[in-house]
């Protein structure tokens, strides 16, 4: 059997598995979606307000805070995995919560990864708003609540970008969730960790099937982002 056939056969069997609606694969996919979505929403729940405040308020050390948040965007997932592991392990400070090797631990680890992404993009998109917008609001006597509302609306595209980018990063990530989730079958096994496992075990058809699902999600997310950005690129006629 020649090389490409192995791959072609893997794909054929992968499609069979996908079409048969395998229960295990569905479970893994749902877990991945649930964990990454929760991590993204939590990251956004903290990241957007904090990012907005950092961008709007003038305080000493603001540029330091911004640099720190931008730097955290480059946080290696395995380091996050290690640190969360140390904290959540039963002998660690938060061990009594018994969260290690649970989906909640995966959410915590990924939230640490999504927070700086959402926060950083929020800061830069609020900062890149035309400074005249703020002046216009002042000149029109907008009360503070309206000011925040209008400015957030103006940076809407940036915020959506932030959330989608964070979700895309979370769903593709493997290091952190492997370390704190443990890849337990039916419990913490996600798309990425399962792909690694099945590849190791030589179960290429399953690995490819999961890879196709992961690709569809990751690419779907990116395409949606591109579509949004194109749609909202208002053409100025002057």
């Amino acid at each position: 059997m020649d090389g490409f056939e192995v791959i072609a056969e893997g794909f054929a069997r992968a499609l069979q598995i996908l079409l048969s609606g395998d229960q295990g694969i569905l479970e893994i996919t749902l877990l991945s979606l649930r964990v990454s979505l929760a991590a993204t929403l939590l990251g956004a729940a903290f990241g957007i307000p904090i990012g907005f405040l950092v961008a709007r308020k003038d305080f000493r050390g603001r540029s330091v805070v911004t640099t720190v948040i931008n730097t955290l965007m480059g946080l290696p997932p395995v380091v996050v995995g290690l640190v969360v592991y140390l904290f959540l392990s039963v002998s660690g400070p938060l061990g009594f919560l018994r969260l290690l090797y649970t989906p909640e631990a995966m959410i915590i680890a990924q939230m640490i990864l999504t927070f700086p992404v959402v926060c950083g993009i929020t800061i830069s998109s609020v900062l890149s708003l035309n400074p005249k917008l703020k002046e216009t609001l002042v000149s029109l006597s907008a009360p503070p609540s309206w000011e925040a509302r209008v400015l957030l609306n103006e940076s809407k595209l940036g915020l959506i970008t932030a959330i989608i980018a964070a979700f895309g990063a979370a769903i593709s990530e493997v290091g952190a969730i492997m370390m704190v989730g443990g890849n337990l079958l039916g419990y913490t096994r996600a798309l990425t960790t399962a792909i690694m496992l099945y590849t190791n075990m030589g179960e290429f058809a399953t690995a490819i099937a999961l890879g196709i699902i992961l690709l569809l999600i990751a690419f779907g997310v990116n395409l949606f982002l591109t579509y949004l950005q194109m749609r909202s690129r208002v053409r100025r006629t002057t």
Partner: protein, 240 residues
């Protein structure tokens, strides 16, 4: 007591004077044109009156009350149209409605007043368009509408017709004059076009390098200026 009074206002940026000891007053219902070469301080003056900028010294009084310096409570009765206005990323209708929402007006009132403005500035066909897709002249009209919609006592305009085509210029001039005459709105308009000043103004102020060189009624300003620099400016002999 005059409507607006500027008392020896000075302002400098990075040690360079933008305004030097500028003093003048205008009555309610006046229409003042501010002219002068680029960099002479026209925009700075308007921004100080609108409270967006703090003067280094001197004060601004509106109806006898000092409004410069401290948090500016009187801004609600002032409307300003910037040199290159920034509109909000929403419909034309909402852009104008915002000014009223900021003032806590009710839905019905808002609808009525915005419709009026759309008609006045011939924007009805554009009511549903995103304001960021407008042409320069249309955008300028929306900016004027959102400043006029809350019926300000004082309207400040910074080159409202620069780089616009004749159609837009004529609409804007017409609306300005109408609200000055019919609503009694006091108007200060900066223009680099002295013909426009001639057409519109009751009074003209001429700024040069931050100094108020001449302040007089329009007829006198163009026919018999007191200052030789004014003369060279209106004759086009001054290079600018």
């Amino acid at each position: 007591m005059s409507f607006l009074e500027c008392r020896s206002i000075s302002k400098s940026y990075d040690g360079k004077h933008a305004l030097k000891d500028v003093t003048f007053e205008i009555e309610g219902g006046d229409l003042l044109s501010v002219v002068g070469p680029s960099g002479s301080g026209k925009t700075t003056l308007l921004r100080i009156i609108d409270g967006l900028e703090k003067a280094d010294s001197g004060e601004v009084l509106l109806k006898g009350k000092k409004i410069s310096g401290e948090p500016f409570l009187h801004r609600k009765m002032i409307g300003m149209v910037f040199q290159n206005p920034v509109l909000f990323n929403t419909t034309v209708f909402n852009n104008i409605a915002y000014s009223l929402k900021f003032r806590g007006e009710e839905g019905e009132t808002i609808k009525k007043k915005v419709e009026e403005m759309l008609k006045l500035l011939r924007l009805h066909d554009l009511r549903g368009r995103n304001a960021l897709t407008l042409s320069g002249g249309e955008a300028q009209r929306v900016a004027l509408a959102r400043a006029l919609v809350y019926d300000p006592d004082l309207l400040l305009l910074d080159e409202p017709t620069a780089n616009l085509d004749p159609y837009n210029v004529s609409i804007i001039e017409e609306v300005l004059q109408r609200s000055n005459r019919e609503q009694g709105t006091t108007v200060i308009v900066i223009t680099h076009n002295i013909f426009q000043a001639k057409r519109l103004a009751k009074n003209v102020a001429f700024l040069l390098e931050g100094e108020l060189v001449e302040f007089s009624d329009s007829a006198a300003f163009f026919a018999s200026p007191r200052d030789s620099k004014t003369l060279s400016f209106i004759r086009g002999e001054m290079v600018y």
